[in-house]
């Protein structure tokens, strides 16, 4: 598909969503869903207010911390487990099983362990993101073509050179795919963590708005989060495609 065609298709999808959104507003009224235009205006107002920023900062801080744990922990664990064949074979089904557990059920445990502060959100976000990153990294290392490693030996590469010039370039595309999935799930986990038993953050604003039946604010926050996550995913997907292009 050409670039122009891809842009055109994306524009069509966005237009369709906006049309549907507007239609729901026309049929159900402002108490069901505010119109796209009103939502954008309210989002802009909120961003302009000083009291909004501590909440945003809280969410961003929690997300970045959770992401750092998920990324470093996930790649570290995945590479270690993947490097040894037997441990990889034992660990993979365990992580796949963990992946399929609805982790919300573990939230009470997280709360008991970490309390009501930012730590619980970070832990919950990291818990969501780390598992796909482990699985992807583990498979990336396990599936490094053995002929490439043998080639490295025939050229008398040192172990460090083999890691740097063969194993890393061979595994980066697959690990990056894991990061893309992991980043999206970390955001999900962090937001879920904020929805319950928290006193700050976008998730807290959202819950407060739900209690007050403040539809405008609900829609505005949903819009901000959606824009952020779609933009992040699109950027990572584009990079992901480029990394995989030659394999």
């Amino acid at each position: 598909m050409s670039l122009a065609a891809r842009w055109r298709d994306s524009a069509l999808v966005v237009a369709a969503i906006l049309a549907l959104w507007q239609a729901i507003n026309l049929v159900g009224g402002d108490n069901l869903m505010t119109s796209p235009l009103a939502t954008v205006q309210h989002a802009a107002d909120m961003v302009g207010q000083a009291r909004f920023w501590p909440h945003l900062r809280e969410t961003v801080t929690a997300y970045l911390a959770a992401l750092a744990i998920a990324v470093f922990g996930g790649i570290g664990f995945g590479v270690l487990l993947g490097a040894h064949r037997l441990t990889g074979e034992v660990a993979e089904p365990i992580f796949v099983a963990l992946y399929s557990i609805p982790k919300v059920t573990l939230y009470p445990v997280i709360l008991l362990a970490f309390g009501l502060g930012i730590q619980a959100k970070i832990a919950f976000g990291a818990l969501h993101g780390i598992i796909p990153i482990v699985i992807f990294s583990l498979n990336a290392v396990r599936q490094v073509n053995r002929t490439w490693l043998r080639t490295a030996r025939t050229m008398s590469l040192t172990p460090m050179q083999t890691v740097r010039h063969v194993i890393i370039p061979a595994t980066v595309p697959e690990i990056f795919s894991g990061l893309r999935v992991g980043a999206a799930l970390t955001l999900l986990g962090t937001m879920l963590g904020e929805l319950f038993a928290s006193q700050r953050g976008l998730g807290f604003l959202l819950m407060t708005a739900i209690d007050l039946h403040d539809v405008k604010t609900i829609m505005a926050i949903a819009l901000l989060i959606t824009l952020f996550s779609v933009a992040m995913n699109a950027a990572m997907l584009a990079l992901d495609r480029r990394l995989h292009a030659r394999f």
């Binding site: 002929t147 043998r150 030996r153 030659r246």
Partner: protein, 281 residues
Amino acid sequence: MSSDGASVHAALVGVTRVYPARAGQPPVHALGPLDLELQRGEFFSVVGPSGCGKSTLVDVLGGLAPPSQGEALFEGKVLGSTVPDGVGVVFQEDASFPWLTVWENVAFGLRRRGTDAAEIRRRVDYALGFMGLQGFAKAYPAQLSGGMRQRVCIARTLVMQPRLILLDEPFGALDQQTRLLMGDELLRLWRETGATVVLITHALDEANLLSDRIGVLSARPGCFIAIVETGWSRDRDSTLAEDPRFGAVTARLWAYLRPESLRALGQQAPAVPDTLRSAAE
């Protein structure tokens, strides 16, 4: 071994290779005992039934895996489990690195070795020209056919200026016509570099066409049951297939190999016909 002069380039002395027992399976005796002396600058091929340890032989000769017993020697030195300088290996599977361009693939070994940039450029450009790849220097392997990618791998070995080149079924994945042309290029490379070449193949006519001598391996554990000398001139090429003597050599190889191939298939092997056996000796 080194007592019989400078003409012996690489050798196997009483080499066996046994893979140790693994999870509920007995140890596998893959190879040997084998004795072999490779003359400097000769083209030696190894044929044998599938699963007879041909690739294991490459591992031992190249220092990729140490023999379980006996010794492998290269230029008078005993090999262990590192590949010595001067030995190049080309594998059956596509071993080109997909994240590097053709040029970078070929330069890979020299760069890791720290050769100076001008020398790398000179040698890589020469190797690309030699293998007919000059127009593809900036292409990535994914944009090339299987035959072209195997050329990249051969060029990558060639730039290291190996004195012993081991090829483990390098044309196994290619079609017959490409194989014949690649064979001609391999002969040209062999003549021009003066390197000793060991080719592992399952194609009898390919072994016949390219080689000075052909070692026939038995079914596992692989041992040499015959070493056939072809007697072709040094400037041979694929037109040799028209020569009536060519068919006779292939027939001789098959006469040795047929019972072994049947044995590898787990069947009862009929004896080699006497007429063919005497022709081989």
